[in-house]
């Protein structure tokens, strides 16, 4: 062996050690620092000028989210994949994550992605869900967090309020940026040929969560004769938790919700109304939409819901009572419920929860009287007992049943 070669062999560990450190530095540079620069650029150029960050309360909620390991069941990162986009919405852009110290992307999904959770569920739903998830979603495996409450979902501690505030902030910045924000980002991206980047701008919906209620929207037309057995099964898994096994609004989750779930046994529904409600949910309430169920399943559910109504002999009503009802209605109710009972009165724009639409849902007299006497908690439907006489109450309770439009 020549002396040089021997020396080289002996010194090779020096070369090797330098190389080892170089590998490591290279990995940090290539996969950490360089992508960081690209992302920082992207954030700077594509972000709206003053994106909304988190409030102090939301920030505290974020800490709770981190501490409870929510990120180990929920990602906050919608990938540039059609499967992700179909479920959750537009892929996450770099600038949307600019306030996340530390990021909460997650690498496991036992529950759904939450990057666009904001405005997907109502506040009462969140409280009830955090307090006891299975009272709303019977088959959920999400942990319950009663320690964030004072013994009931109606008594959230500050921690629960903070956490729900945080959940409601998820995806908000991009939503508020609006079409102008999207246009700005798209121009700034300068990436017309980057197919992947373009996916973020061409998603059909920014938030595609199938549970997100819509204030208005089309709904599929359901076949009137859905499969009853299937419907009952679906009902037991998805609805009974709130609406009760027999539709009497007495499920385990009912008490915590404001408004309470509808008493399905006390209403007649048109199939169209059920199609609309299942497809769009009831915005502002805990009634989510069920757009992830195929249309046959919705039809089956509609059939099952229809089956809860116990047809009672409603007494025939004297004409003068109906006249009184009409007068009372016109004077007191029409501005909200609309002249034709469609829930589209002139004041609707100011209401958080749309007034009942009597054309598609006919309450029994008892049900109406209950609403008139007690009001509908959690909505602007106030009690009328002080303002209307007993006779007027009964009269209008009969009267509103007349709006129902059953189609053959």
């Amino acid at each position: 062996m020549s002396r040089d070669a021997g020396r080289f062999l002996r010194m090779s560990y020096v070369v090797a050690s330098v190389a080892g450190v170089a590998f490591f530095v290279m990995s940090v540079a290539l996969l950490g620092i360089w992508p960081g620069h690209v992302l920082e650029d992207e954030t700077r150029t594509m972000s709206p000028e003053h994106p909304l960050g988190l409030t102090v309360s939301e920030q505290r909620g974020r800490v709770i989210y981190g501490r409870e390991g929510c990120a180990y069941c929920h990602t906050q990162q919608i990938r540039y994949l059609h499967a992700d986009m179909a479920r959750f919405g537009s892929p996450t852009l770099a600038w949307e994550t600019r306030f996340d110290y530390p990021h909460l992307w997650g690498t496991r999904r036992i529950g759904p992605d939450l990057a666009r959770e904001g405005s997907t569920h109502s506040e009462d739903w969140h409280f009830a869900h955090l307090y006891a998830p299975r009272t709303l979603m019977a088959d959920s495996v999400m942990p319950a967090y009663p320690s964030l409450f004072d013994g009931s979902p109606d008594r959230p501690r500050q921690e629960a309020r903070d956490l729900v505030a945080y959940l409601d902030s998820l995806g908000r910045a991009r939503e508020l940026a609006g079409p102008e924000g999207e246009a700005h980002a798209r121009t700034a991206c300068q990436c017309p040929d980057d197919e992947m980047a373009q996916m973020a701008f061409h998603a059909t919906a920014l938030n595609a969560n199938p549970a997100r209620p819509r204030r208005q929207g089309a709904a599929p037309k359901l076949a009137p004769a859905g499969n009853l057995g299937r419907g009952q099964q679906l009902y037991a898994h998805n609805c009974a938790s709130c609406h009760g096994a027999r539709g009497e609004a007495d499920g385990p989750g009912a008490a915590a919700l404001h408004p309470r779930p509808a008493n399905l046994a006390g209403h007649e529904y048109t199939v169209d109304r059920l199609g609309y409600v299942l497809w769009n949910g009831v915005a502002g309430t805990a009634m989510q939409a069920w757009r992830d169920l195929p249309t046959q399943d919705l039809a089956a559910l509609a059939r099952a819901v229809g089956g809860f109504y116990v047809a009672q002999q409603q007494p025939t009503v004297p004409v003068d009572l109906l006249d009184l009802g009409a007068r009372v209605y016109k004077a007191n109710c029409a501005q909200c419920h609309g002249d034709a009972g469609a829930g589209d009165g002139s004041a609707v724009g100011e209401l958080r929860i749309t007034p009942a639409d009597f054309r598609g849902a006919r309450p029994s007299v008892a049900e109406s009287l209950r609403a008139l006497r007690n009001g509908v908690e959690g909505t602007q439907m106030a009690p009328w007992t002080g303002r209307l006489s007993e006779a007027e109450l009964s009269a209008v309770a009969y009267y509103v049943r007349g709006f129902y439009q059953e189609r053959p």
């Binding site: 002996r10 996969l31 996450t92 852009l93 994550t97 600019r98 690498t107 299975r134």
Partner: protein
């Protein structure tokens, strides 16, 4: 060459530190496994025990993985190092006093308080970095002390012609210290997607620069020591080593494929992941060729653990290379498939290596109790448990992936996973039993029975003779 390792010097192995870390390893292992079992049960019975905050799923999940990595593997690696470093270098570790400090810091300033703080609600939501930052500071201090403890013997011996285990030890300790802050501190300072890029680095470095090198150090050590034959090829060992340290850190971004992180970084990581599979084939071929004809299964249980660890290493690495590919990743990412993968890595590969290492060093502590039958049971129970759990989770992942690609409601994937989660919890029975057997194997039985068992299986030689055998054979090195 072999005069570099003086065969005459009886290296002073701090057997008490070996013993202390070994026992701490198994105790923390049992606790970590209990966290894991509880978390798995909570997926079946979510409203367990009235839902106290400190028992909630997320916190158990944090403590499970941190306990496995730092408590179990960390302690087991230290136990092995106290035995192997003096034998590899022919020189004692820096100081027994320092060893007591490291032991105390690691277990009473890192693992125990880390667990308690997480249960009390102080943690950080970063993968493989869940202990709060105060604890991270002590991890860094302890790692720095470990470098002071274990590396000087190598320098005093001189770095020429080091056996590959030595390189893995040096590389593992140094690069873990460098990489640790990347996953534990940087994402707190760098937001969102940018921070995630660093998290990705650490998620893979935790496995690639801490667990893998030290587990391979054990395997590379135990195989020649127990078969009493040199490793098949020192050249392949070193090739494997360098490729590993080149490729592992470049894998990080494969945890965020199809994310907003620049595509070229993603593709780089995916390519590195594929190449890593090739490298692992080299490493494993070398190890298996070294085992050829040695009658692994009839022999020493430590060797059997190490051999099985090698096979798991091959399978998990090939699986990793495959699941990093975009077409596979888009389907199985986020699913139980990945949980199966990480258990194959940590419970299959790393745990088998660590258990093999512990059994091996225990045999060589003259005063330690040793129960060969219990260890035999431990091996087979763990083997059955790992196969059951990983198969089950892999299938679960495929089922979830199929449902996620379809239009089915989200909860359908949760409903479909239930039976698999039940089996997974069931797999905890052989696994927990295996670990209890491991504990019994190392704490019951007659004192010194380890040496007897070595005698019966591979024939007793003075322990110090093991060292020179590990240096490259003179013929190969020149």
């Amino acid at each position: 060459m072999s005069q570099n390792v003086s065969p005459a010097a009886t290296p002073a192995v701090e057997t008490r530190l070996v013993y202390a870390h070994g026992l701490a390893a198994i105790v923390t292992l049992l606790i970590s496994v209990a966290f894991g079992i509880l978390a798995s049960i909570e997926l079946l019975v979510p409203d367990l025990a009235g839902n106290p905050a400190w028992l909630s799923w997320g916190r158990l999940r944090y403590d499970h993985t941190q306990g496995i990595m730092l408590g179990w593997l960390g302690n087991a690696f230290f136990a092995f190092l106290y035995h192997a470093v003096p034998l590899l270098t022919g020189r004692p570790v820096t100081s027994a006093r320092l060893g007591q400090w490291i032991f105390g810091l690691w277990n009473f300033a890192v693992v125990a308080p880390g667990w308690v703080l997480v249960l009390a609600g102080f943690s950080q939501p970063l993968e493989w970095a869940e202990f709060p930052m105060v604890v991270d500071v002590f991890v860094v201090i302890a790692l720095a002390l470990a470098i002071i403890q274990f590396l000087p013997p190598f320098f005093r011996r001189g770095l020429e012609d080091l056996y590959v285990s030595s390189w893995y030890v040096i590389g593992g300790l140094v690069f873990t210290l460098l990489a640790y802050p990347m996953g534990n501190f940087v994402p707190e300072l760098v937001p969102g997607a940018r921070g995630a890029a660093f998290s990705g680095l650490w998620i893979h470095d935790a496995v690639g620069l801490f667990v893998t090198p030290l587990a391979l150090a054990i395997i590379y050590y135990v195989i020649p020591a127990a078969t009493r034959r040199p490793i098949f090829s020192h050249f392949l060992s070193m090739l494997g080593f360098w490729l590993l340290f080149f490729l592992y850190p470049l894998n990080g971004t494969h945890h965020y494929i199809y994310s907003v992180i620049p595509m070229s970084a993603q593709i780089g990581a995916i390519t590195a992941s594929a190449l890593l599979g090739v490298d692992v084939i080299i490493v494993v071929a070398n190890l298996l060729l070294s085992l050829r004809g040695s009658g692994v299964f009839s022999r020493d249980v430590a060797l059997r653990f190490a051999a099985m660890s090698t096979i798991f290493y091959l399978v998990v690495s090939i699986q990793g290379s495959v699941q990093a590919q975009m077409s596979v990743n888009q389907a199985v990412h986020f699913s139980d498939w990945v949980i199966g993968h990480s258990h194959l890595a940590m419970l299959g590969f790393a745990t088998f290596a660590a258990a093999g290492g512990l059994a091996h060093v225990w045999q060589r502590i003259p005063w330690a109790r040793y129960n060969a039958r219990a260890l035999d049971w431990s091996y087979w129970l763990l083997f059955a448990g790992v196969i059951l759990m990983v198969t089950d989770l892999t299938v679960a992942g495929l089922v979830e992936a199929r449902l996620w690609q379809s239009a089915a409601p989200w909860l359908d994937s949760v409903r479909a996973a239930r039976p698999y989660w039940l089996i997974r919890t069931g797999s905890a029975i052989p696994i927990a039993a295996g670990f209890i057997a491991l504990l019994l194997g190392l704490t019951t039985g007659p004192k010194g029975a380890g040496l007897q068992s070595v005698e019966q299986t591979i024939g007793l030689e003075p322990v110090r003779e093991i060292a020179p055998r590990l240096a490259p054979a003179a013929s190969e090195a020149s």
